[in-house]
């Protein structure tokens, strides 16, 4: 198992957000987290790069292991962890800098100064994110000049540049138009060979198209976790059945 959650309970102040969740994720797979709004799937995703640390009054019980190491133990440096666990957010959030600087930023905060290496890495990451052809002539231009879909692929390239082994995606296509959304999906598919991807999505089709495994969350509980095909064609729990057929949520 690449990633393992062991009996995870999570609280914001008094609110019990995640209730006793255990699940394992294999290397180089895509795992989709689905469920109605407020079910805790985004919160769960943010546990893997300790993004929830930034919120005051958050408390975690249980363990999250990445390659056997509890990432919440004191020996683990958060900033180092976030370099191995990249993240893409729901709304594209490029930095107010040039396209080049956006991708190079992760390398710079890693202390890398070699210009040739940075240039090579920027090109490689943009190619991986299927954006290179569209932006190669305007790397010096502001990232804000790009369309929403391009911005999101830029954010993916930015995350890839630091060479993470895990990629967390929090509804990466929900703010995009259908065509950009398909492009991001294709991208996820092509990245599967190199990265372990966890994706939160509201879109059933997207989950079934892109993922190997799907986890259905409801009210802070992990209701069902299975192979995507099995979960969508032959769910074991009635709640899952109702949700994926659109009867609620």
């Amino acid at each position: 198992m690449k990633i393992e959650a062991k009996n995870v309970n999570f609280y914001y102040g008094q609110d019990h957000i995640l209730k006793g969740i255990s699940m394992g994720i294999k290397k180089n797979t895509v795992t989709a987290l689905i469920g109605p709004s407020g079910c805790g799937k985004s919160t769960f995703l943010r546990l893997f790069n300790r993004m929830n640390d930034l919120i005051e009054g958050a408390r975690l019980e249980g363990e999250i292991l990445i390659e056997g190491v509890n990432i919440y133990s004191e020996k683990v440096n958060v900033n180092e962890l976030r370099k191995t666990v990249g993240m893409v957010f729901q709304k594209p959030n490029p930095f107010p800098k040039s396209i080049f600087e956006n991708v190079a930023y992760g390398l710079k905060v890693n202390g890398i100064k070699n210009k040739a290496y940075i240039e090579e890495k920027v090109e490689q990451s943009l190619r991986q994110a299927a954006l290179w052809e569209e932006v190669k002539d305007k790397l010096k231009k502001s990232a804000f000049a790009l369309s929403g879909g391009q911005q999101q692929r830029l954010c993916i390239a930015r995350a890839l540049a630091v060479e993470p082994s895990i990629l967390l995606m929090d509804e990466p296509a929900s703010a995009l138009d259908p065509i950009s959304s398909i492009k991001v999906e294709e991208l996820i598919y092509s990245l599967k060979n190199t990265y372990t991807i966890i994706i939160v999505t509201h879109n059933m089709q997207q989950a079934s198209r892109t993922s190997d495994k799907t986890a259905f969350f409801y009210m802070g509980e992990l209701v069902e976790y299975d192979d995507t095909r099995t979960l969508f064609t032959n769910p074991k729990k009635e709640r899952t059945q109702n949700y994926i057929t659109g009867r609620f949520g």
């Binding site: 490029p94 930095f95 992760g106 930015r158 995350a159």
Partner: protein, 305 residues
């Protein structure tokens, strides 16, 4: 019977109509009256300022020439100049900026980025807001006691700059925090997610994105400091100084004090000098405000979230 009812109704309807009509008339009047009132208020402000400017310029403009800028103080009005004063003002301006900018911005970064919400934070915030309202002469007294006497800095430029720094710190802190707050959380989140430390995030993302806002605030605060007279008089900045200061421990004078000194003299020629010095001082303030406006304008154009 029915006829009577009908006429009654018609009368009633008419009355209501009339009443309503009167109301509409009244609202229209109210609308116009308020507009006239607002225009009058604006005109009052502008005309007073204009009168002041016209008076000052007509009195002082002819007095400004190269000699006026390069002459030191003199007992004779015609040979007195503002050389020591404007050099002193420049020194004070630069020194105050050098002292107040890092301290103010540093404090704002701490309060906005590092500090967690607590009772102490609230206490600090309320007090910073209050400090902005403390009369400047009280800062002067503080500077006299703390810098001039306790730290033995005397009546030096450093004492003056430190005192003025204290005076404008609250303004810088408040405006810097506002500028920092305009940077959306998603930018910080994006930076943290790439493994950047808090300091790297602040230095590489938050500060560059809010820099022009910070500069605008600092410049406006400095242009206030340039016009301050009271605290500098309290700490003992002299008006009769033969040589402009050459180091931060020299004694000094500034334009406002020179103006204050000249207008308090009985000879009419000195008030002409004062008017000329006022024009110079106003120009410095206008230029600084202009730069601030320009920065704000450019900033709004450049950064769209």
């Amino acid at each position: 019977m029915t006829k009577m009812v009908a006429t009654k109704r018609r009368k009633l309807r008419k009355r209501i109509k009339l009443k309503y009509y009167n109301k509409v008339k009244y609202f229209e009047f109210q609308d116009k009256a308020f507009k006239v009132f607002a225009i009058a208020c604006t005109l009052f402000g502008i005309s007073v300022l204009l009168a002041l400017l016209v008076h000052v310029f007509s009195t002082g403009l002819g007095r400004i020439d190269w000699d006026f800028m390069t002459d030191g103080p003199s007992r004779k009005a015609s040979s007195a100049g503002i050389y020591t004063a404007w050099i002193g003002t420049l020194w004070i301006l630069v020194l105050t900026a050098v002292i107040a900018f890092p301290i103010g911005v540093g404090a704002a970064i701490y309060l906005e980025e590092y500090n967690k919400k607590s009772k102490l934070t609230n206490f600090l915030e309320i007090n910073i807001a209050n400090l902005a309202g403390v009369p400047s002469i009280i800062y002067g007294l503080l500077g006299l006691e703390l810098f001039s006497r306790m730290l033995h800095l005397g009546q030096s430029l450093l004492t003056g700059a430190l005192t003025l720094s204290l005076l404008i710190l609250p303004v810088i802190i408040v405006s810097t925090r506002e500028a920092l707050r305009t940077v959306p959380y998603s930018i910080r989140e994006g930076s943290y997610a790439l493994g950047a430390s808090k300091w790297q995030t602040i230095w590489n993302q938050v500060l560059p994105a809010s820099m022009s806002g910070i500069f605008t605030g600092v410049i406006l605060a400095l242009s206030r400091a340039v016009g301050e007279t009271a605290p500098l008089i309290v700490i003992g900045a002299l008006s009769y100084i033969r040589q402009p200061p050459s180091g931060i421990l020299d004694s000094f004078t500034v334009l406002p004090i020179q103006i204050f000194d000249w207008v308090s003299r009985p000879q009419k020629e000195f008030s002409v000098n004062a008017a000329a010095a006022i024009i110079i001082l106003l120009s410095i303030t206008f230029i600084m405000n202009g730069v601030a406006v320009y920065l704000r304008h450019r900033w709004q154009k450049k950064v769209k979230w």
